[in-house]
């Protein structure tokens, strides 16, 4: 009755998913970068910020780690337009809302890895930097952070890989990324098992590529004392 799987894949599924794949990449790459930037900023503020700043950053992390991502995605897309400040409100298109939601959520988790990395660097390094006449800010940004980031990188990479998969949630606010496209194809063809198993393979491929890129990054940043353990 129905066409064989490979025929279905070639003619219908693969072309559809390819489009979804590009949209996914369009969401994943900016939100991963946003997540890293927010994570580093929040992590540094949580360790070295003044008390009120530290408190604010802690609140951000509690809020975004403590609420379901679905709720956050809905918030940015559906609720944000209702928040009017001075008669002005922000309406995001679905992709923008998804990027913001994933970036903010990812940043909260990233900041925890960065915080751990920062705390793993001995206080003496800061003391030595200050003793040379650096400001605290210089000591943190040019001495402690580069070392902390190397220590945090495996964790940060982990979070990016996780983000690749939760980017599928963008489909619930009408973004036609991988999962959204796959759902549509599955509905239209009634071939759920084949479509979703194939979808799984696509994510596996994305994650494999990301893991390889992260490994390249670890190698590029590797210096004696901060190597990636090898077998």
């Amino acid at each position: 009755m129905s066409t064989p799987y490979f025929e279905f894949l070639r003619a219908e599924l693969a072309p559809g998913l390819l489009e979804g794949l590009w949209t996914s990449v369009l969401v994943i790459v900016p939100s991963a970068l946003l997540g890293v930037v927010i994570g580093i900023t929040a992590g540094v503020l949580r360790v070295y910020g003044a008390k009120p700043v530290r408190w604010l950053a802690d609140c951000y992390v509690s809020l975004f780690r403590g609420t379901p991502l679905v709720v956050q995605v809905f918030f940015w897309y559906f609720a944000l337009p209702y928040i009017k400040i001075g008669g002005w409100s922000l309406v995001l298109d679905p992709i923008e809302a998804a990027i913001l939601a994933f970036g903010m959520c990812s940043g909260a988790y990233q900041s925890e890895y960065i915080r751990g990395g920062l705390n793993s660097i001995k206080r003496g390094q800061i003391r030595a930097a200050l003793a040379l006449g650096m400001t605290t800010r210089q000591a943190v940004t040019s001495i402690v952070l580069p070392q902390a980031f190397r220590r945090a990188l495996p964790g940060c990479g982990n979070e990016i890989i996780y983000l690749i998969k939760y980017s599928s949630l963008a489909s619930i606010i009408t973004v036609n990324e991988l999962t959204g496209t796959a759902t549509t194809i599955a509905k239209n063809t009634w071939r759920n098992i084949e479509v979703f198993c194939t979808l799984g393979v696509y994510y596996l491929a994305l994650v494999t590529i990301a893991a390889w890129l992260l490994r390249l990054a670890e190698d590029a940043l590797s210096v004696p004392g901060f190597e990636r353990p090898r077998t």
């Binding site: 030595a128 040019s142 070392q147 004696p224 004392g225």
Partner: protein
Amino acid sequence: MSDATKPAVPILEARNLIKTLGGNRVLDSVSLAIGRGKVKVLIGPSGAGKSTLLQCLNFLLPPDSGQILLEGREIDKKSKKELCSFRQQVGMIFQDFNLFDHLSALENVRVALMKVKGMGKLDATERAVAELKRVGLADKASLYPANLSGGQKQRVAIARALAMDPKIMLLDEPTSALDPELIGEVLSVIRDLAQGGMTMIMATHQISFSASLADEFMFMEKGRVVEHGSPAELLGKGSGSRTQAFCAKISELTGEAGDGEAGACRL
């Protein structure tokens, strides 16, 4: 400036430093003054406040009260700018080196030249190479701290401090974390510095070595300077000083009685 008219303004002067840590008075009204080219050595048992004093002197640990003057000018510890420029002029050497682990030896020496002094990369590199050469590590410039021995790390740390052209160096037990066979190379760099006229305040347990360099010994105990004077005075036979008793004990413990330490104690 009335100070400038006086013949010899001390390079660094501390007045009545008090520091309390965790309810303990670690520094109890300590004062000192050191003139250009002089070498002061702090000795005393662990917990006497030597490290705390050195760290208070450049505000790494801000003293609870007291004043610090550089060439007769009091440092306003509330002004970040003043603090940074003061610290540039006061080099500090730590017991555990505190090299920046992600930077090569060359970059360790260069980073503050670029970030703090605003030097260009070429000039900073040239200066850093010169400083590494001065401590005998020209050939190790590209190595990272993880690949350097303890003695080499401490020499890089000294080069890093010297590159900032400090007016005075504070050395906090520079050889205490080193294997015995590596101590010599660091001491010889310190000796060269002293002979080159560098003003230094050094906390150390290397009694015989420091006795040969120091203009003054300061013996600290429980946060106070209990005795001070020339090494010859304090270590002289029959001086009955606490310093003498203390260093006799050290030489007994290190088992080098007769030659090294005890020899110095007899002076």
